[in-house]
């Protein structure tokens, strides 16, 4: 059993004066070595390092090993482990009720792409401000390893049976349908994961991060395309990703070759620094992004990086033009119209 442990070199106190403890959760009950545990650790670190008030975060999930993990980080945040595949709607409702909260959805590939693909598709369309992390192991961990809808063609179960249906690529779907921050990463890559998560935390729109997260118990064998080994052997990085937090203008995390870096300013003022590894890749070009992701899938590449960012598009809360005070905090006087209003209607109907 691994607790969602602290990073070694993290400063003791963050910019809002908290130490790491408030960012931790309960001891994990996932298998030792499960990729999901590493992701939990990164979440703890990122929220701590960004100095986000954990009481202003909500954690949302469906059902699965991955969906259990919110219990293992951010113990000071309200959490909602809902029903299988339908977390997007619960998250949408919660954000509508209180738009000031940072919504963090953590779910599995089965939860998202099998039972949940309908709600996922519609979530993308709305560009709801939410950080949506898919802990993608290509299988149903909690029900003992059956294929999920992200399993690759030809990938095998422990029994040797091969998957014969094409996978759903949650990233290309997200880009196509309207999400505005879309990335893929790997549970084993601490640095990339941190940068990608932090970028998402500063984005006010739908962020999808598909994290390849091997299931050591059911899907880490030879023949699986979601094993640690397979990812290491087939990984292709689109960019080297750096991150400059909004509260730390000077600090530059990476020495980038001048000119090859693209800097994207997120809604919170932080900057995502993408050092291009593929010459002309432009994360602002929706169609190119889809094409690149789909090509990778066809070639069996595990492509990681920030595929698409659009900080211009209005999010769902913008579209609704909500009052500055979150609905959940409005007092009776603002929720119940005056009696004159009722009189007016009664008059019309008389």
């Amino acid at each position: 059993m691994t607790a969602a442990a602290a990073p070694r070199k993290a400063p003791k106190i963050n910019r809002i004066g908290l130490d790491l403890e408030p960012y931790r959760g309960l001891k994990t009950t996932l298998c030792a070595g499960c990729g999901h545990n590493s992701i939990s650790e990164r979440i703890v670190e990122c929220f701590f390092e960004m100095g986000i008030d954990p009481t202003q975060v909500i954690k949302l999930s469906g059902i699965g090993c991955s969906s259990k993990s919110p219990a293992y980080f951010l113990g000071m945040s309200h959490g909602f482990n809902s029903v299988h595949g339908r977390m997007p709607s619960v998250g949408t409702g919660a954000v509508l009720a209180n738009k000031d909260l940072l919504a963090l959805g953590v779910t599995g590939d089965g939860d998202t792409a099998s039972i949940g693909i309908g709600q996922y598709v519609h979530l993308m369309r709305r560009n709801l401000p939410i950080v949506y992390i898919i802990e993608d192991n290509g299988c149903y961990g909690l029900t003992k390893g059956q294929f999920s809808a992200t399993a690759d063609l030809g990938s095998t179960l422990k029994t040797g049976i091969a998957n014969d249906l094409p996978p759903i690529d949650t990233c290309s779907l997200a880009i196509q349908l309207g999400a505005t921050y879309v990335a893929r990463s790997f549970s084993g890559d601490k640095k990339q994961l941190q940068a990608v998560f932090k970028g998402a935390m500063g984005h006010r729109g739908t962020s999808v991060i598909d994290v390849i997260s091997p299931c050591v118990t059911f899907n880490d064998h030879h023949g699986s395309t979601r094993s640690y080994q397979y990812v290491r052997d087939n990984r292709t990085d689109l960019q080297t990703i750096g991150f400059v937090p909004h509260f730390d203008e000077i600090h530059v995390e990476n020495g980038f070759a001048p000119g090859s870096v693209r800097e994207i300013e997120m809604h919170d003022g932080s900057k995502l620094r993408l050092e291009k590894l593929e010459e002309d890749y432009d994360p602002g070009d929706r169609l190119r992004a889809i094409e690149r992701v789909e090509t990778a899938a066809e070639k069996g590449q595990v492509l990681t990086g920030v595929f698409y960012v659009n900080t211009e598009k209005p999010n769902f809360i913008d579209l609704l033009n909500l009052d500055d005070t979150p609905i959940a905090r409005l007092p009776q006087s603002r929720l119940r119209p005056e009696s004159a209003a009722l009189d007016e209607v009664m008059e019309e109907l008389a």
Binding site: D53, T55, M76, G79, V90, G93, A94, H122
Partner: protein, 612 residues
Amino acid sequence: MATVDVFAPGEALAPTSREVVNDFSIQVATVNGSGSQSANLILLRALFQMGIPVSGKNLFPSNIAGLPTWYTIRAGKHGFVGRKKEIDFLVAMNPETAREDVINLDPGAAVLYDEPLNLKALRSDVHFYAAPFDKLVAPLAPPKFRKLVRNIIYDGVLAYLLGIELEEVRKALFKQFASKLKAAEMNWAAAQAGFSWAQENLEKADPFRLERMNENQGKIIIEGNAAAALGAVFGGVGVISWYPITPSSSLAEAAQDYLKRFRIDKQSGKATFAVIQAEDELASIGMAIGAGWAGARAMTTTAGPGISLMSEFVGLAHFAEIPVVLIDVQRMGPSTGLPTRTSQGDLLSSATLSHGDTMHPLLIPANPQECFEFAARSFDIAERLQAPIFVMLDLDLGMNYWMSEKFEYPAWEMDRGKVLSAEDIEALQGDWGRYRDVDGDGIPYRTLPGVGHPQAAYFTRGTGHNAEAGYSEREDDWTENLDRLKKKMIAARKLLPKPVVRDNEKAKVGFIAAGTSDDAVSESRDQLARGWSLETAYCRVRGFPFSDLTGEFIARYERIYVVDQNRDGQLHMLLRRQFPEFHDRLSSICYYGGMPLDARTVTDAIVEREGL
């Protein structure tokens, strides 16, 4: 086995001297999409303005245009405006159904028909009036408007035949076309033309007549859906997530309209609400649950198929104790069933929706006032109980026009339930448990996300948990939690509206009914008392689980007839479940034909069962 005196069928008809004033039914048979709705509403309003108790019920097909539709107006001088089984005055505009419509009339009825239909030949025991609508409409409107204007002509003809004051027709008409003055003028001309033509060409022979009364002072006319929508708005709804489905769509749409009107800040233009058309019912209930969890007053609207789809999520809300309101405008099931017919067929499935042991409170309004009040109160109850609450309308109540007293402004303080603030948590030094039964009523305390205290958070889940909201598979945690939930639901009775009880010292027989059965039962009691000297008592339940008062009512009468608008006697079943000791007093009367329940159906059943 009719219970009202009728002519012997086929008997020829002489002009009658017997007058029937202000207590009969008018049915207009047309085709949907033909614009007859306006003409019918004008008729309804004109009667309303004449101070006559009245209702209007639309019987429409589940398609958009081109199929038969019947609009029925019931005038009821004694205040009984439920559906009357017999049609007294038929306006036959639809060639497809005219024959059958006429054949189904009782002798003595009257028919106004479109001349080319040539219905007169069909029988000799009803009064016929033929009007040449096409001829009449031609000079009144250019061809493309004729289809619509044509219908207004029958308003004019009826005004003459029935004695509707033309001035009231005019007022109703201009109200109807308020935003389109041109159309109003054209239609007003049509109404007048109909009237004049009738005056010159028809000779009144039937007994049906309307005359001014003074019953509608201070009253309004409204559909139950609009009333419930208003209730939600004045109840402080914050988030409505819904998916279109007949007969509930107009509720969400009306709510959205009222919210836009009254809940957008005049200065900033910003909204204190969100109305979301979700992608389906699983999403709409999920959004409402998420919003309720995060502290907004949240609701969804739907009908039977949606209730079924929401089943898993409602179990979650019940078990994780999340306030949320579901308004079910019931239509005829099972399955897609008859989407445009009314029923009370979801009582049972709603009361115990979802797998495992569950129970959900129901509020069952019977009229627009209750739609308004119960919708508003449902949020208080949901937040107090931290549970899904069902408001059970039906198509008849929701989509038809009802007279009503004006709604009273909700003067009560909203009850936001047991919510701990940051100060509360501080005072408790963090020693609180999300699912602890502190007050002994089974209702725990909650915190809202974002309240900001470091000890405020808890983890919400549909899996087993202990009083501290910690995950638990322990036998004792589980059973204690389930016991508390049961206790809470029993406590719910006190929060629900009490039954409306009409005791009767002379009676041995009592009725129990709910919702829109009210009109029929009330009128039937009158029929039974006057026609068969059978005195009855009546208890109209308005909430489930039932109040103890309902049990006491049952105890007071020897034989209780439970009236249900479904096949299996669902209200009867729920009553027997809660009051098993009275099982042999409770018998079941079920109507499930999809029409609004009528008094005669109830009376016939009682006459037979009581051997009268």
